[in-house]
C-alpha cells in the first residue's frame, strides 16, 4: 500500500510539472509578446522592471522557463494588474471560498448520487427506476447557467425564499455564530444545488450500474442464504463493494465540478476562483488567468490522489495485499 501511494504521488508530481509546462507553452504560443501580457499601463515602472527581471525576458526561452517554473513552484505567480497585488495573495483569499462551494456541492453530489443509484438498483425496472433514468437524462442535458437562472427566477425572484447572490448577506457584518452560519448556509443552497445535484444524475447512473453488478455476485447470495435481512444485504454487503469503483468516478468528476464552478460563481457572484478567472479574462489580467489555471489543475490532481488513496483504503485486496497462506 505504501509503495502504491508513493508511486501515485510521484505520478502526480509529474502531472503537475506537465501542467506547468503546458501553461508556459500556452503563454508563449499565443500571438504577441508574452511580456506585453505582464505589462500594463497602470503598473508602476518598478513593478514592471522587477517582473521583467523575474521572468527573465531578456534571457533565452529555456532560461525563462526555469525561472518561471521556479516561481510557480514557490507560489509566486506575479502581480495582478487589476488589483495591483501579488496573485498569490488574491488566490489565498479566493481559494477557501471555492472550496466551501465545492465541498458543499460535492457533499450533495455524493449523497444524492449514491442514494439514488442504490435505490434504482434495488428497484430495478420499477417505475422509480425508469422515472429516475428519464429524469437523469433530462438533468444531464441542462446547461448549468440556465438551471441556475430558472432556480433564481423561482426561488429568489418569485418566491423570495433564497438569496440569489454572494456568500452572505450584505448586512451580515453584525452577525456571528449560529445566525451567521445560517445566513451563509442559505446563500450556499442554490449554488451548491446547481453545481452538485444537477450532476448527481451521472453519479447515480454509475452507482446503479455498480450495484447491479455487485448484486449479481455470489457473496450476495451467501449473505441472503445466511438469513440476513435485505436491508443489511444492500447497505452492508453490497454497498461497500459497489462504492469502491465509484470512488474513482468521484475523482474523475472533480474537473467537472470545478469547471462548473466558473459559471455558478459568476451567476451567483460567489467570490471564488471561477469568478476570479472570468473577471481576469474580461480585464486581460493574464497573471491571474494563468495562475488560476495552474492552481485548479493542481487541485484536481490532488483530488485524484485522494480518491486513489481512498480506493486503496477501502479495498482490502489492495490494502492487506498478498497472500499469507
Amino acid at each position: 500500500m505504501a509503495a502504491f501511494l508513493v508511486r501515485r504521488i510521484l505520478q502526480s508530481l509529474v502531472l503537475v510539472w506537465i501542467v506547468l509546462t503546458i501553461t508556459f507553452f500556452l503563454l508563449h504560443l499565443a500571438p504577441g509578446d508574452p511580456m506585453a501580457r505582464y505589462d500594463h499601463p497602470d503598473m508602476s515602472r518598478e513593478t514592471v522592471m522587477r517582473m521583467r527581471g523575474q521572468l527573465g525576458l531578456d534571457r533565452p526561452v529555456i532560461e525563462q522557463y526555469f525561472i518561471w517554473a521556479a516561481g510557480f513552484a514557490r507560489g509566486d505567480f506575479g502581480v495582478s494588474f487589476r488589483y495591483n497585488r501579488p496573485v498569490g495573495e488574491i488566490l489565498a483569499e479566493t481559494i477557501p471560498n471555492t472550496l466551501r462551494l465545492t465541498v458543499a456541492s460535492m457533499a450533495l453530489y455524493v449523497v444524492f448520487g449514491l442514494v439514488l443509484g442504490m435505490m434504482s438498483a434495488a428497484r430495478r425496472y420499477s417505475v422509480f427506476d425508469r422515472v429516475n433514468t428519464i429524469v437523469a437524462l433530462f438533468v444531464y442535458s441542462i446547461p448549468s447557467f440556465w438551471l441556475a437562472l430558472m432556480l433564481i427566477l423561482l426561488f429568489s425572484l418569485k418566491l423570495g425564499v433564497l438569496p440569489s447572490s454572494h456568500m452572505q448577506s450584505l448586512d451580515s457584518a453584525s452577525l456571528s455564530g449560529i445566525p451567521l452560519f445560517l445566513d451563509r448556509a442559505r446563500h450556499l443552497v442554490l449554488p451548491a444545488f446547481v453545481l452538485g445535484v444537477a450532476s448527481a444524475a451521472g453519479l447515480a447512473r454509475y452507482m446503479r450500474g455498480s450495484m447491479i453488478d455487485v448484486l449479481r455476485e455470489d457473496y450476495i447470495r451467501t449473505a441472503r442464504a445466511k438469513g440476513l435481512p435485505e436491508r443489511s444485504v444492500l447497505l452492508k454487503h453490497a454497498f461497500r463493494n459497489a462504492a469502491i469503483p465509484v470512488v474513482t468516478i468521484l475523482g474523475m468528476s472533480l474537473p467537472f465540478l470545478l469547471g462548473g464552478a466558473v459559471i455558478v460563481e459568476k451567476i451567483f457572484s460567489w467570490p471564488g476562483m471561477g469568478g476570479l478567472m472570468v473577471e481576469a479574462i474580461y480585464t486581460r489580467d493574464y497573471p491571474v488567468v494563468l495562475a488560476v489555471n495552474f492552481v485548479v489543475a493542481v487541485m484536481v490532481i490532488l483530488g485524484n490522489l485522494l480518491a486513489d488513496a481512498a480506493y486503496a483504503a477501502l479495498d482490502p485486496r489492495i490494502m492487506a495485499g498478498g497472500k499469507d497462506r
Binding site: Y125, T222, D315, R317
Partner: protein, 325 residues
C-alpha cells in the same frame, strides 16, 4: 427414521426471452433426520436449483418457484412469510456453495462474516459472537483461529476458504446442511480433507446433509441414500449400496459405467451419447429417451411416472413399470 424435510412437486421456472423453462419440474424426495442424501446428476440437471429452491433463494427475475411444498416441522416453507423464512436460513437450514472465493465477501474479514450470522440468529453481542466465531474456526480445523479471524478471503487458500464457509454455515447448528458441490472447485488433495471434515462434523453435530454433486466417488463416501436427477426430474432413488450394486435406471447405469475402475482394462471410456436436452425443447415422452440404449417405443411417447420396483427404491422408467408411486 424421523423425517426432517419433505419435498413434494417442487417446480421452478426461469423466464427467458423464448419462454419459461422449467429447471426443476415436480421434484420430490424426503430427507430424514441425521441422514445424508446425495443429489446426483450432470450439470444442468437442476440439482443446484433444487437446493436454492428449498431455501427460497431463487431470484426473480428470472427465476421463480411456481409449485410445490417443502415441509419441515409441519410447516410448508414455501408458504412462510419472508421474515420467518429468513429465520430458517442460516439457522435451521444452511447451505455452502461450490466456489468459496466468490461466495465470500471480499471486503470483510472471514471472522466477521461468521460472526454476523451468529449475532443475527443467536442474538449475541459483539464480543460473545466473536468468541463463538473463533470457536467455529477451530472446529473446522483452521490453525491459529484468532489470527485467521482477521484475514480477508483473498489471503486464504481455497481449502481454508471452504472451511470458513462451513464454519459460517454451521455456526448456528442447523439441522440440515445443503452442500452444493463442496469440493469440486478444490485441488484433489484438498477435496479429500474437506469431505472428511464434512463427515466428521456431521457425526458430531448430528445433522442431516443434502450433498449435491456430480461426482459419484464423493457420494459413495458420504451418502446414505441417493437421488438421481436428470433434466429437472428425479429419475432414480436408492440407498447407496443398492444404487451401486444394482442401478435401476438406464441413466444411472450409464453413469456407473463411465467411472473408470482400477484394474479395469478398457480401450475407450464408455460415455452416454448425446447431450442433456434444452429445457425449452424437451423431447416428448421420457426425457432420457433420445440417449437411452434401452428405450422402447412407449418411451418416446409418454413420460413415465416414478415406479417403486423394490422396497425403498424408485425409478422413472417404463422398464421398471410396476406399482407407480
Amino acid at each position: 427414521m424421523e423425517k426432517l424435510l419433505e419435498i413434494r412437486g417442487l417446480t421452478t421456472e426461469f423466464v427467458t426471452s423464448e419462454g419459461a423453462a422449467k429447471a426443476v419440474d415436480g421434484v420430490g424426495f424426503d430427507i430424514g433426520a441425521g441422514e445424508t442424501v446425495g443429489l446426483v446428476g450432470e450439470s444442468g440437471c437442476g440439482k443446484s436449483v433444487t437446493a436454492l429452491s428449498i431455501m427460497r433463494l431463487v431470484q426473480y427475475p428470472p427465476g421463480r418457484i411456481t409449485a410445490g411444498s417443502v415441509t419441515m416441522d409441519g410447516r410448508d416453507l414455501m408458504k412462510l412469510p419472508e421474515k420467518q423464512m429468513r429465520r430458517v436460513r442460516g439457522n435451521d437450514i444452511s447451505i455452502i456453495f461450490q466456489e468459496p472465493l466468490t461466495s465470500l465477501n471480499p471486503v470483510f474479514t472471514c471472522g466477521e462474516q461468521i460472526r454476523e450470522t451468529i449475532a443475527l440468529h443467536q442474538k449475541m453481542g459483539r464480543r460473545e459472537s466473536r468468541l463463538k466465531a473463533i470457536e467455529m474456526l477451530r472446529l473446522v480445523r483452521i490453525p491459529d483461529p484468532e489470527k485467521r479471524y482477521d484475514n480477508y478471503p483473498h489471503q486464504m487458500s481455497g481449502g481454508m476458504r471452504q472451511r470458513v464457509m462451513m464454519a459460517m454455515a454451521l455456526s448456528c447448528q442447523p439441522r440440515l446442511l445443503i452442500a452444493d458441490e463442496p469440493s469440486t472447485a478444490l485441488d484433489v488433495s484438498v477435496q479429500a480433507q474437506i469431505i472428511e471434515l464434512l463427515l466428521d462434523l456431521k457425526e458430531r453435530m448430528g445433522m442431516s446433509v443434502l450433498l449435491i454433486t456430480h461426482d459419484l466417488a464423493v457420494v459413495a463416501q458420504m451418502a446414505d441414500r441417493v437421488v438421481v436427477m436428470y433434466a429437472g426430474v428425479v429419475v432414480e432413488q436408492a440407498p447407496i449400496d443398492s444404487l451401486f450394486s444394482d442401478p435401476m435406471h438406464p441413466y444411472t447405469e450409464g453413469l456407473m459405467a463411465s467411472i473408470p475402475k482400477l484394474g479395469e482394462h478398457l480401450e475407450r471410456l464408455p460415455v452416454i451419447p448425446g447431450n442433456v436436452p434444452d429445457p425449452l425443447r424437451l423431447p416428448a415422452g421420457c426425457r432420457f429417451s433420445d440417449r437411452c440404449p434401452k428405450r422402447i417405443p412407449r418411451c418416446l411417447v409418454e413420460e413415465p411416472p416414478l415406479f417403486s420396483p423394490a422396497e425403498g427404491r424408485l425409478s422413472r422408467c417404463w422398464l421398471r413399470g410396476g406399482i407407480a408411486k
